[in-house]
């Protein structure tokens, strides 16, 4: 297991190197001046020149990359051209919002997708199954921005059952910063009003973001369950007189789980990229919005920071999934 994790981390180094190289040199191809963009239309030439020198942009590109990499090795992602802060500080402010949203969407996905998939499989070809499948079809076909706007229109503007865009009501001060996930921080500090407010604010964006992946997971769970239900060992288990719950829970579901786990890993990636749109619609101050602003202002140290974070998160999630396999499937462990 240790060797496995080390191998994965070793691979990560190459991923980071590749991503940084690609982003850095792609940024050089854009025919515009990031410094002029950051300082705006009124900036004078002397100002632009001074800032360029300060950022080291007068150096040859290869030298700039060398400097960037030597800093990166020490954990320094450089400074954002636009916000003039360390990129790592910016990420610390924006990343938790995205992680919280993605996690919440993942919870929606798992809590809805798996049970509905199981129920559909157990009631195959009944109206329950048909209902679940129609739900999956709708969820998979609706674009995020549309779902978001409809949910906001109905539950926030019309019915006013749920709060609108943002992570908290404007008048609610955020909890003390521990992880940056408002719900977790509120829980850790026992700040119940903030926990309630932050959770309520999570509902609509999490459903919006999680709808598509719920649909995918529902179908996957259903088909995987159906496949297992038809196996001989299930008949044997039933013949032995095991209760229905035991058969489904211990035998069928456990064996149906590996492909479900795989799809969850893949869905996590799609949730992260889907978060960009959801963040825009729900005024969610996350990394997607930070990335969009950074791209339009050619703030490439910031863009590289975001790319690197994504490059680290994906392999980490994949590794989690792999470890998950070995927990549920002894055959993987043996290998």
């Amino acid at each position: 297991m240790t060797a496995f994790i080390l191998r994965r981390l070793g691979g990560l180094v190459f991923v980071i190197f590749g991503v940084s190289l690609l982003t850095f040199f792609l940024a050089q191809l854009v025919p515009a001046d990031p410094v002029a963009a950051a300082l705006g239309s009124n900036a004078r030439d002397a100002q632009i020149e001074a800032y360029r020198l300060q950022l080291g942009l007068d150096q040859p590109v290869a030298v700039q990359y060398g400097i960037y990499m030597s800093r990166l090795v020490r954990g320094d992602l450089g400074n954002s051209i636009r916000t003039r802060r360390a990129v790592i500080d910016d990420l610390r402010d924006y990343l938790p919002a995205t992680i919280e949203l993605t996690m919440a969407a993942m919870i929606v996905t798992i809590l809805l997708g798996i049970p509905l998939g199981i129920i559909a499989a157990l009631n195959r070809n009944t109206w329950i199954d048909a209902g679940a499948r129609i739900l999956a079809l709708i969820g998979g076909a609706m674009p995020i921005f549309y779902v978001g706007l409809v949910l906001l229109g109905v539950f926030y503007r019309q019915l006013q059952w749920l709060p609108g865009p943002g992570r908290l009501d404007s008048t609610v001060p955020p909890p003390a910063h521990i992880t940056g996930l408002y719900t977790v921080d509120a829980l850790l500090t026992g700040n119940w009003p903030v926990l309630a407010n932050a959770s309520a604010h999570l509902v609509l964006p999490a459903i919006t973001l999680g709808l598509f992946s719920t649909a995918v997971l529902l179908r996957m769970t259903r088909s995987s369950m159906l496949e297992m239900l038809g196996q001989d060992y299930v008949r044997t288990a039933k013949a032995k007189g095991l209760s229905e719950r035991l058969v489904i829970g211990r035998h069928v579901f456990k064996n149906a789980l590996p492909p479900i786990l795989t799809i969850i890993g893949i869905l996590f990636g799609s949730l992260l990229s889907g978060a960009v749109l959801t963040e825009t619609i729900f005024n969610w101050p996350g990394i997607g919005r930070y990335a969009t602003t950074s791209v339009t202002t050619l703030d490439y140290p910031a863009v590289m920071g975001v790319a690197l974070v994504a490059a680290v998160i994906y392999p980490l999630v994949n590794t989690l999934v792999d470890i998950g396999y070995s927990v549920i499937d002894p055959r993987v462990r043996a290998n």
């Binding site: 239309s41 865009p165 404007s170 590794t319």
Partner: protein, 551 residues
């Protein structure tokens, strides 16, 4: 069995460690930089003055551009708004009046000292910082020197426009500041610059112990040391700036709104929803569609105010066909201005000169209406025949007044098509467009300009003076007469003569310059009906004074 259990345990541990790794990517260090400095935060809200939704103002706007709350550094709309409500300058503007009026200084005097001007400011003895300490001449000198030493985006206003140096600012006594500026600098212009946040006064005694290694720049992002009606409660970098009323405000009664929350809301659809539901009390900047949707809403009222921006089309005066003055004039006659104003849906006014409405020196004469025959004739004089193709570079996204740049460009394109000239529209990301514009590479483009300070010189010099390396230069328009006029007008002290000089410059530019000035956009605010005392004053810093607002 035991072995199996321990290996399962090991697997779960590994799983937990990895989850922790993902989470720790976003965990802040134990001593978060956003933690308030001792005594800094709680001092803001006095005991017994409880903060409720009724005495809290929620102001939603696109504040994506905010990067600092240090008055010496702030140069973005998002930052200047809170900074201008926390810090004060020696002089200021009254809403709707281009005259400069006292603020921290109760009076000033401008004297001819041979080769220099001497500006002497008498501070108001009543003026105090939020700490209760008096505002002294030493604080003023310290603040200006600090801004020049930090030398970030707005510092050029002091260093280049006022030509201030450390040696030319003197604290004569506790209540008197003396500033000497070269004769080439207009005292009017310098005074206008001194109303901007870069010249705001910070309390030396409160800031000095917290300067760290960056002159206190980062400390001021979480603390305030000003004399204004509000103090900083906190800045949640990605979303909100929270201000609390300064209970001991020296300039009149304490503000009615005990707390002001500036909420970053980049999407105008979200701002519309926030004002409809009452989540926000004021929202800043709505497009024509959102404004129309709110028009009949009984809970909301709209306030429109002209900004100081000017939108224009410009041409490069060294590239054919616009190297010919007739061709430039032809363009001004070819444009259907009415159509552009219609497209703006009430979000802008026709302005065909380089000085915006609200500034001294604005003439208010719009000599051009579409005259295709005349345009055709002038183009013919310049040797431009039917079938000519001219590249027209336009930024992607929304222009001032809430209409896409491309929509306005298409309107101008249709105008010129009527006389057989094809404008080849090329859409570019704004940053890319700017890079090419600065390199004098664009034959024709659409853009806007906002003055850096409230004085006609803030437009006169960039539009007319090639030597200033600004707009005239970017359009390769090197015209000795325009340069001379702009220089004369800048330093003229007699107000009437100065206005006359600007009128001459405006007319000269209208007939010779590389610009077809199009419109001055409005900014649209929506207010909940219980909000009172709201004024949008585009020429002043800040544009919106929260201390005037009540509910």
């Amino acid at each position: 069995m035991t072995q199996k259990r321990s290996s399962t345990l090991w697997r779960w541990t590994a799983l937990l460690v990895l989850v922790a790794m993902v989470l720790s990517a976003c965990a802040a260090p134990a001593a978060a930089p956003s933690a308030p400095a001792a005594g800094g935060e709680e001092a803001a809200a006095p005991a017994g003055d409880e903060i409720t939704r009724d005495n809290t103002l929620v102001f939603a706007a696109d504040m994506t551009d905010i990067i600092t709350l240090d008055p010496a550094v702030a140069y973005e709309f998002g930052g200047i708004l809170p900074v201008g409500n926390m810090y004060e300058t020696l002089a200021s503007f009254d809403p709707g009046n281009p005259e400069i009026v006292p603020l921290l200084a109760e009076s000033w005097d401008i004297a001819d000292a041979g080769d220099m001007w001497t500006m002497t400011f008498k501070l108001n003895p009543a003026a105090t910082f939020s700490s209760g300490n008096p505002v002294t001449a030493d604080d003023v000198v310290f603040s200006w020197n600090r801004a020049m030493e930090i030398n970030k985006s707005p510092a050029w206003l002091l260093i280049d426009v006022c030509q201030m140096t450390k040696e030319t600012i003197v604290a004569v006594d506790a209540g008197t500041v003396e500033l000497k500026i070269p004769k080439a600098v207009s005292p009017n212009v310098c005074l206008a610059v001194l109303t901007f946040t870069v010249a705001a006064v910070v309390e030396q005694a409160a800031l000095e112990p917290n300067m760290g290694d960056d002159m206190g720049e980062s400390w001021l992002n979480d603390n305030s040391v000003g004399s204004g009606p509000y103090v900083l409660n906190g800045w949640e970098r990605s979303s909100t700036v929270t201000l609390d009323a300064n209970p001991a405000y020296w300039g009149g009664t304490a503000p009615a709104m005990k707390r002001v929350i500036l909420q970053n809301m980049p999407e105008s659809a979200n701002r519309q929803a926030a004002i409809e539901t009452g989540d926000a009390d004021i929202v800043q900047e709505l497009g024509p569609e959102q404004a129309a949707a709110l028009e009949g809403n009984p809970d909301v009222s709209l306030v429109k105010g002209l900004s100081t921006l000017l939108a224009y089309a410009s041409v490069n005066a060294t590239m054919p066909p616009f190297d010919n003055a007739d061709a430039r004039q032809a363009l001004r006659y070819a444009i259907n201005y009415d159509n552009i104003i219609t497209l703006l849906g009430g979000n802008g006014e026709l302005v065909q000169e380089i000085i915006p409405i609200g500034f001294a020196g604005h003439v208010g004469n719009n000599p051009f209406t579409q005259d295709l025959e005349k345009a055709k004739e002038l183009f013919a004089n310049a040797g431009v025949t039917e079938g000519a193709v001219i590249p027209f570079t336009v930024a992607t996204g929304t222009g001032p007044g809430g209409v896409d740049w491309a929509t306005i460009a298409a309107s101008i394109q249709a105008d010129l098509a009527q006389i057989g000239i094809t404008l080849d529209i090329q859409l570019l990301q704004q940053s890319e467009l700017l890079t090419k514009y600065r390199a004098q590479e664009l034959p024709m483009l659409l853009m806007n300009w906002g003055p850096d300070y409230t004085d006609p010189d803030a437009n006169g010099t960039p539009f007319a003076n090639y030597e200033a390396n600004s707009l005239a230069w970017r359009n390769s328009w090197n015209d000795p007469q325009a340069i001379e006029l702009s220089k004369q007008a800048a330093v003229e002290l007699d107000p009437a003569t100065r206005i006359e000089l600007y009128a001459q410059l405006v007319e000269y530019m209208q007939n010779n310059g590389p610009f077809a000035m199009l419109y001055q956009p409005s900014r649209v605010y929506a207010l909940r009906n219980n909000v009172q005392g709201f004024i949008y004053d585009p020429g002043d810093t800040p544009n919106v004074s929260f201390a005037l607002i009540s509910k």
